[in-house]
Amino acid sequence: MIKIISESFNIESEFEKIANSTSGAYSFFLGTVRSDIIADQRRINGVFLECYEDLAYQQLSQIRLKAIERWKLNGCVIIHRVGNLAVGEKIVLVLTSSSHRDDAIKSCEFIIDNLKIDAAFWKFNIIGSEQIPIQAKEKDRKKFLTWKDVVN
């Protein structure tokens, strides 16, 4: 299941939706808005998440299917929020379930690493009323390259 939404979500409820007694292992990654980001020497008021939804759904579906196949997942949820988000708010949730621990853990890490570089979302720091685009990180691109022998 893939959701691109402006409202928040509840982690327990998302777990319940895919909870299944053939899965013994669930791995979650949650990304939230940090308060200690400094842009233009000022603390941010929050972030703005922009999305090209048609493309993002397509990209997230591909990433999700790749993970389900590679790790034999029973369930896989990706939720990404859009719009203005205050400090501390949830941005993204990746949740995977499998019979086995390693499959759930690795697939969850793969999905967030892939999403970071291949899904049509853009984050802006909000300073006052201004949106300042965040620079893409070379670190994220390098990290994703480490998956090339694991997933193709």
């Binding site: 922009e50 853009w122 984050k123 802006f124 685009p133």
Partner: protein, 84 residues
């Protein structure tokens, strides 16, 4: 014919708008669309000079700029993504 342009991230901020619908000659290629846009607004020069930007035609990345465009096509201007 009409085509739709969608702008994201710094490109949207720079252009101060998220999209345009423009009227162009039939079967114009993406390659020929570029100077046409620069002529209308010089900001496009900077946009096309940034080689980290990707262009998508109807949700598929443009690899060959000689691809001819069709009525109702959607071209998206995508700087490197920063979600998650």
């Amino acid at each position: 014919m009409k085509i739709n342009l969608k702008y994201f991230s710094w490109i949207r901020v720079k252009l101060k708008r998220g999209q345009d619908t423009i009227d162009v000659v039939e079967k114009i290629t993406f390659k020929k669309l570029k100077p046409y846009l620069i002529e209308k607004d010089v900001i496009f020069e900077e946009i096309f000079e940034d080689n980290s930007t990707k262009f998508f035609l109807n949700l598929i990345e443009i690899n060959d700029e000689n691809i001819p465009l069709n009525e109702g096509d959607e071209i998206a201007f995508l700087p490197p993504v920063t979600g998650g």
